[in-house]
Symmetry: C2
Subunit: 197 residues, 2 copies
């Protein structure tokens, strides 16, 4: 992977803070580029989530199995997002989630130790993660809340509006699981919607 490929990640960071050329180099120094095959797990229960994974290309989902063995999809992520079992990564304890590639993918990986080390050295990197995590937290809460007062159909419609690309790219049963409904029920919603249009 050539260095210029990192520009997408640097662009992302530059939206929030300014980095010197030397600081950028230091960040490049802790990045490992990894190719991942469809259906491969980059995190799985029992293993500590080692990396913050920036998606350069491809799609992932994280999910867990409840006691009855049912899958619950937690996150669906595509290019320019970070993905991992965040709880496992932050606490450096064994994961409870699977993180699975839904397509062949390329990711930039940075270890917990390297990031923590650089955040101590580079004030603006600390600021970058502080600000983006605060935002991610705020948005995630907002989304969770607005879902509380919505029924299954509304949740699906808003999902397709918010992420127009995903509805075709991601298997329907994954979307159903992400939206907290059974695949059968989503199927019924879709057929009802198309009948009325």
């Amino acid at each position: 992977m050539k260095l210029e490929e990192y520009s997408k990640l640097i662009e992302n960071i530059s939206r929030y803070v300014e980095l010197t050329h030397e600081e950028e180099e230091q960040i490049f120094g802790i990045i490992k580029t990894t190719r991942v095959r469809k259906r491969q797990f980059i995190d799985q229960p029992g293993f500590i989530s080692g990396y913050r994974n920036y998606i350069y290309q491809g799609a992932f989902r994280s999910f867990f199995l409840d006691r009855e063995g049912k899958e619950h999809t937690v996150q669906i992520a595509i290019e320019d997002w970070f993905v991992s079992d965040f709880y496992s990564y932050i606490t450096q304890t064994p994961a409870t989630l699977f993180v699975e590639a839904l397509e062949d993918a390329v990711i930039f990986q940075m270890t917990y130790r390297d990031i923590e080390g650089l955040c101590k050295k580079i004030h603006n990197l600390s600021e970058y993660f502080r600000i983006t995590t605060e935002r991610a937290f705020a948005y995630s809460r907002k989304r969770a809340l607005s879902n509380l007062s919505k029924d299954a159909e509304q949740r699906y419609v808003e999902f397709t509006e918010r992420y127009p690309g995903m509805a075709n790219r991601i298997p329907q049963k994954v979307i159903a699981s992400y939206l907290g409904m059974s695949p059968e029920f989503l199927s019924r919603i879709r057929s009802q919607l198309s009948r009325h249009n």
Copy 2:
């Protein structure tokens, strides 16, 4: 409010980073101590959430009203927690949540601008908010997930185990709303549980 009262907040910060005496003084400089009456709102829809509020004494909840006028409790918070409409605070846009005192309370308030300013100056304060927000986000996700595979009774039982003090201190209909069930259903769960013990 005497300066020594701030020691609880400083203790909290010291769990994550070290501050110099001078840095502590700078932080004291942006704190405003406020007394709040039971049933008073410190955030409400339409107004931008001005402060990060550290609870020195008392209990709060945040909630919103859906289209049908039903209340959804988002957070219940007591001493040593931060509380606000976090989305409104972070984005500095009008709030959608109410934040209401459940008891007479004393809070330490810091404005968004003052905190952002100090985070630019004090690397370790940036680190403090980065680390605590990352943790809060991780825990909040974990909790949300583990609730997905639980029925109403399990959610209530785990709530009483995790926050033993709260079940008595907080009105039941608030707890029901926080746990995502109707007050009638919580009442039935409680009577069933006490019958079996």
